[in-house]
């Protein structure tokens, strides 16, 4: 079974290709069969592989080389294989991706059922699965990068899925370009690895570096060590993909895509790729404490920043989007603190509960006839009971209420911060946890409680989603509850043991000093904060007048509200600071440099030549006496030259 590892990404790829080539009007059933069948097969295969891996190979790596991508018999050429790797980290990711991915495929059958682009949708989604699997299964950075950019492409295509409208393609473009900024840094990181180690293979790089850390220490560039430089580059790459400050701006806009896409790509899997990458590269990050600290700070900042924006959003998907950014910030906080396991743990739990939340919101939107504004909702509890309950589970999970998944993973992160004495980060994390609970329940109450605020037609139309959508919801809800249990605090932390083999301590690098902080106490504090936040949210938005109350608050602090509602004007700032100057510069290059200077010089030269000719032709006056004079003058001048 394990030797079929390579089939796991190939199957969805084949699905995408098949669906893509089906022709204009294929039978819908066939599309569904291919589109859902491929991920299902992948999932089954993945489960089989994982089982076999856990049985036979754990904790060793299982590499699976397909073919040489570039190779040469010569020393100076580049040797990169297309190869897959199953190790604990990729195993976790593999499970999350195939499992959540498959569920979302199933959900999509219902959600996208009436869309004319059904076939296209499944082709894209399958392609995404393939790329995501490539990303997590790759045994070197190049394969990871292939998947990395591949998921970016799918993200682009799926955000712009409703291409006939003006905004989605624009959002897709924005996502693609912002991601590319990060990707460029990722590339530079890879180039640095190639330049210094001649390889991108994890199995080549990490043991070597871990054994002789001196290879990557010492100043390399602008005060950074080699490890620091590479780590920084990779982190900038991660910023793009995982929507961290300052490259997070694309993610909220990405909600223009279909909701299952948001669930799969922009919540559960793709955006967490950055976390995966950093966890994968942990050896370098351990050797670059400065950069790690930077990662943590950026993560924390992103977490609180995005959460604060989430407070003021009225679009349900936007709320979820900012919450995703915020949760990703959490993960980076963990990664930056060196708690890679915690980061991956939170990644896993987040995949479940955030996918659940998104799919729930999708169900709501589905029912509301594509209405996403929470101000038009309210009181949906009655009409959508299954959605209501599952959404509640998701909210509780994200808010970090015991024993839901979020509690454990978030707690581990906060514990890591506290344990490393990073109290500021801890407090930020804690506060963010409160904010998260608040705005999630704000959304929850606004959507499901109170009275219905939409149009009469919408009200008439309200219905619970079909089983093909609710069953995935429930399965995810179960995941949102239970997935935290793999990482119980203390020695019971199975995940910690499982992933521990991936976190390779560099030689000479001892275990980080642990402050002994009571896990129990911290958990209690977190729980209290979350509970208080939920209570506050209930007080504000629980009743029928939730919206008005919120508005009152907004009126009381208009500046803050405007700031939050307009997302701190970051898009505008980017536009002014980067896009417009760049456009101006480009225009100048075109009209100024190209047309004026370069072509101008050429044309001037040509014109000068022509003028010289036009002046010169006047010498041929038509009067032969002048010609004789030229002859004579020529003779005299040459004579003078001769005798001088």
């Amino acid at each position: 079974m394990l030797d079929l590892l390579w089939l796991i990404p190939i199957l969805p790829l084949a699905g995408a290709a098949l669906n893509g080539m089906l022709g204009r009007r294929p039978p819908k059933a066939l599309v569904t069969a291919i589109g859902v069948g491929a991920p299902l097969l992948s999932l089954l295969l993945a489960l089989g592989c994982l089982w076999q891996y856990a049985q036979g190979h754990f904790p060793n790596d299982y590499p699976n080389t397909l073919y040489a991508w570039t190779a040469g018999p010569l020393g100076s050429s580049l040797n990169i294989d297309v190869a897959f790797l199953l190790d604990p980290l990729s195993a976790v990711m593999l499970f999350v991706v195939t499992f959540v991915g498959f569920l979302i495929h199933v959900y999509s059958v219902g959600y996208m059922g009436h869309d004319p682009g059904y076939r296209r949708y499944f082709a894209y989604l399958n392609l995404f699965m393939a790329m995501m699997l490539l990303l997590v299964l790759g045994d070197n950075y190049l394969v990871m990068f292939v998947g990395w950019e591949g998921v970016g492409l799918c993200s682009y295509l799926l955000i712009g899925f409703y291409y006939e409208e003006p905004f989605p393609p624009y959002a897709g473009k924005k996502a693609f370009i912002v991601n590319r900024v990060g990707d460029a840094a990722f590339l530079i990181g890879m180039f640095t690895l190639i330049a210094h180690f001649g390889s991108l293979k994890y199995a080549d790089l990490f043991p070597r570096i871990a054994q002789t850390p001196s290879l990557v220490q010492g100043e390399y560039f602008a005060g950074l060590s080699l490890a620091g430089f590479i780590a920084l580059c990779f982190f900038v790459g991660a910023m793009g993909k995982s929507a961290q400050i300052p490259l997070y701006v694309w993610l909220p806009d990405a909600m223009a895509g279909p909701t299952p896409v948001s669930a799969l790509i922009h919540a559960a899997t793709m955006v967490t790729a950055g976390v995966y990458m950093i966890a994968r590269t942990n050896v370098l990050y351990q050797l670059a404490p400065g950069v790690s600290q930077f990662v943590a700070v950026i993560g924390a900042a992103t977490a609180i920043f995005a959460a604060s924006i989430g407070l003021a959003q009225t679009d349900i998907k936007k709320v979820l989007a900012y919450s995703t950014v915020s949760q990703l910030g959490y993960m980076f906080l963990a990664a930056g603190l060196g708690a890679y396991t915690a980061a991956v743990f939170h990644l896993g739990t987040h995949a479940f509960f955030k996918a659940l939340l998104f799919l729930g919101s999708g169900s709501v939107i589905h029912a509301m006839g594509c209405e996403q504004d929470m101000r038009q909702m309210g009181g949906l509890k009655k009409a959508l009971p299954q959605t209501y309950w599952t959404f509640l589970i998701g909210c509780l999970a994200i808010a970090g209420i015991f024993p839901f998944a979020g509690f454990f993973s978030k707690d581990e992160i906060l514990h890591a911060a506290a344990g490393r004495g990073q109290w500021v980060l801890y407090l930020v994390g804690l506060f963010t946890a409160g904010l998260t609970a608040f705005y999630m329940f704000r959304a929850f109450f606004l959507t499901f409680h109170g009275r219905f605020r939409g149009t009469h037609e919408q009200e008439h139309h309200l219905h619970e989603s079909p089983a093909v959508m609710t069953i995935p919801l429930w399965i995810l809800a179960v995941g949102a509850i239970t997935s935290g249990w793999v990482g119980l605090p203390g020695d019971l932390n199975w995940l910690h043991h499982f992933l521990g083999h991936v976190v390779r301590r560099p030689a000479g690098q001892g275990e980080p000093a642990e402050h002994h902080v009571s896990a129990f106490l911290l958990g209690l504090i977190a729980l209290a904060v979350a509970g208080a936040a939920i209570y506050l949210a209930y007080r504000f938005y629980g009743g029928d007048r939730g919206l008005e109350k919120g508005r009152t608050w907004a009126q009381r602090y208009p500046a803050i509200h405007r700031l939050l509602a307009n997302k701190y004007y970051v898009d505008e700032i980017y536009d002014r600071l980067i896009v417009r100057p760049l456009a101006f510069l480009s225009g100048f290059f075109w009209k100024g440099v190209d047309t004026r200077v370069i072509d101008g010089a050429i044309h001037t030269g040509a014109a000068a030549t022509e003028i010289a000719g036009d002046v010169g032709r006047l010498s041929t006056t038509g009067n032969v006496r002048n010609y004789a004079l030229y002859f004579f003058a020529g003779v005299i001048l040459l004579f003078v030259w001769l005798i001088l």
Partner: protein
């Protein structure tokens, strides 16, 4: 004696040459040219080339100048008007150039350091010597001049004959390219 003849005829030649180039009327110029050519013929004789001197008088003065006069009469060429302003520069430049040129050449030839002329021998002066060399060494030029004169005759007829008054023959349509 030789000096005296030289001075007289050199002066005459120069003076008449100035008239040739300076006089407005071509007829006067032509007549002055006769004087120049004649003076030259005298100098040729002094230089021991009597045959050439005679030919100079016969051909140049006798034939060529008459031809000139004939054409001047035929074309009824009048006196030249004063130079129009546009071409005054030409005249100034020309005179300036000629002065520089003449000066340079004079500088050059006055530097010709040569012994006095060798004694004239009968061989040098006689037509016989000339003829021998002409028909032995310079036979080819002689032949060429024959052709040259033929060309001159044909060329002159081609140039001076009245243009044929034929209409442009309409081109054969068959021969035009499709």
């Amino acid at each position: 004696m030789e000096m005296l003849i030289f001075l007289i005829f050199a002066a005459l030649a120069l003076a008449s040459a100035v008239v040739v180039v300076g006089h407005r009327s071509p007829v006067y110029s032509t007549m002055a040219l006769v004087v120049t050519l004649f003076s030259m013929a005298v100098l040729f004789v002094v230089l021991g080339a009597p045959f050439i001197g005679v030919l100079q008088v016969l051909i140049y003065t006798g034939a060529i100048v008459v031809l000139f006069l004939f054409v001047i009469m035929l074309l009824n060429v009048g006196r030249e008007e004063v130079q129009p302003s546009g071409q005054r520069a030409q005249a100034v430049m020309a005179i300036l150039g000629a002065v520089v040129f003449g000066g340079l050449v004079m500088l050059a030839v006055s530097g010709v350091q040569a012994a006095a002329f060798p004694q004239l021998t009968p061989e040098m002066v006689s037509v016989k010597g000339l003829a021998r060399e002409l028909f032995r060494d310079y036979l080819l030029p002689f032949e060429i001049v024959g052709l040259l004169l033929l060309v001159a005759v044909i060329g002159a007829t081609v140039a001076a004959r009245k243009p044929p008054q034929v209409d442009v023959s309409s081109p054969d349509p068959k021969e035009s390219e499709p």
